[in-house]
């Protein structure tokens, strides 16, 4: 990597922060996505409404607005929630936590639709067979439906992860020192905006390429043992 007026170390630190943010948002997003998919097929109608409302809202408003809403709005909500318990101090989420929550919420909203489609694609006979063998609901989900649905969900989740990684740049707006923020500092010191934003662009491209390779490997692994249809 070129020296970039001595700012390459800072950009690499930013890269590390971007990776950490993307992975923590991914963790939260996967949990939310699974919960959302489960809630969409819940027996109780209000649970289904909440899940559908969640995905509709999160898919209808810009990611930047979600980031700003979580960061600036959370203080108001948290302070109002804690006031009855006698706590009157000022509360603020760190940019990292707020960013992880915002991007995790976004990922989860889209992922719940991906998971729902994937679980519906697992033949119902599989679940029925497991029930007949005496498995409980939780066992059926984790041992039968999830491993088979995972294979179908993986390409969709992979696309969402690529989107998530690019959305991490938005968290620079609330001051998290990831790639974009570090690039902004470097621009401020050197007055060379094109150089540093282009360097940032190449870091994101590198992340995209590495993720695509990782996803291809995971898809290959998830498909092992599946008969492959030949095109001709």
């Amino acid at each position: 990597m070129p020296d970039l007026h001595g700012f390459s170390d800072q950009l690499l630190l930013g890269l590390w922060m971007t990776v950490r943010l993307a992975l923590s948002a991914l963790g939260l997003g996967l949990v939310l996505g699974l919960a959302g998919a489960a809630a969409m097929s819940a027996p109780m109608a209000p649970v289904r409404w909440i899940a559908h409302g969640y995905t509709t809202i999160i898919r209808g408003i810009p990611e930047l607005l979600v980031v700003l809403l979580i960061y600036f709005g959370s203080s108001v909500v948290l302070m109002a929630a804690l006031r009855p318990f006698g706590y009157t101090g000022y509360i603020e989420l760190s940019p990292f936590v707020a960013g992880s929550i915002a991007l995790g919420l976004t990922f989860g909203g889209y992922a719940s639709e991906v998971f729902r489609g994937a679980f519906q694609a697992v033949p119902p006979g599989q679940g029925e067979a497991a029930r007949a063998l005496g498995m409980g609901r939780i066992h059926i989900f984790f041992r039968i439906v999830l491993p088979q649905g995972w294979r179908i969900a993986l390409p969709g989740l992979g696309n969402l992860f690529l989107v998530l990684m690019k959305d991490t740049a938005l968290v620079s707006v609330i001051g998290l020192e990831e790639i974009m923020r570090k690039a902004q500092f470097a621009v401020g010191a050197t007055k060379e905006p094109f150089t540093f934003y282009l360097a940032a662009a190449f870091l994101y491209l590198g992340l995209t390429i590495v993720s695509m390779a990782g996803l291809a490997w995971m898809e290959k692994r998830a498909n092992r043992g599946m008969p492959r249809a030949r095109a001709s």
Binding site: P62, L69, M180
Partner: protein
């Protein structure tokens, strides 16, 4: 929650929504203009022809829109010839035009990829039939392949338009007062981030809703030939 605050912010936010829609439609228009030649070149068999559009599409789809926006708005001013040019500088020093240029380049790459898939999905028989009738290659492209591809690409284009609506919120990071930018300005005065951002979110949802409906209507209109013909006794109007 304070409904009065939300209502008080509404006029300003709607003003911002106007700019958001302007950015969306102008860049959507230029994006399509850009995407058509890109997609045609990208769908080419020749490696030399498709290499450049491939690199272009890969760059714009692989990097965040925020980086692209900063590259155009802040980045280009690094070069003396841009700052001294009497043509480039009046355009590139305006955040409005920088946003339009970046969004067009960005959405153009995504539309090109959608259109490439659609071009390749046009049945080979139709292309062969056109060639057999003596149409030139350009004639076949303009009269057979592209109109067919446009119909195939329409649903995916609708999704891209919605994504671009949400992407246009980034215009607020280069000082434009679009819906998100206006919300941030209002918050600087009323100190009510929750209510104001929620109101902005509601307006975005409303725009999304209308766009989805409008696209569904257009899709319905252009696919009359694909619907089942009314069946039943001749002369009897089908109900519903």
């Amino acid at each position: 929650m304070n409904i009065d605050v939300m209502m008080a912010a509404l006029p300003k936010l709607l003003e911002g929504a106007g700019l958001t829609l302007q950015l969306l439609f102008i860049s959507g228009f230029f994006g399509v203009l850009l995407a058509v030649p890109l997609a045609v070149a990208r769908a080419s068999q020749s490696l030399a022809v498709k290499a450049l559009p491939f690199a272009y599409i890969f760059f714009f789809r692989g990097t965040p829109l925020l980086v692209q926006l900063f590259l155009v708005y802040y980045g280009l001013s690094q070069f003396a010839f841009v700052r001294e040019s009497p043509i480039l500088w009046p355009v590139l020093s305006e955040p409005y035009w920088c946003a339009i240029i970046t969004f067009s380049l960005h959405t153009g790459a995504y539309i090109a990829e959608i259109l490439r898939g659609a071009i390749q999905a046009v049945p080979a028989g139709e292309v062969e039939a056109a060639r057999a009738l003596g149409m030139t290659r350009a004639g076949t492209m303009g009269r057979i392949v592209l109109p067919r591809a446009a119909r195939i690409a329409l649903p995916a284009y609708g999704n891209e338009l919605i994504l671009m609506l949400k992407g246009s919120a980034l215009a607020s990071t280069i000082t434009l007062l679009d819906l998100t930018g206006m919300a941030r300005t209002v918050i600087a005065r009323n100190y009510m981030p929750l209510e104001t951002f929620l109101m902005a979110g509601i307006i975005y949802m409303a725009i999304t809703f209308v766009l989805v409906r409008a696209l569904r209507f257009i899709e319905h209109r252009v696919s009359a030939h694909m619907r089942a013909r009314p069946t039943g006794p001749v002369g009897v109007e089908p109900t519903a």
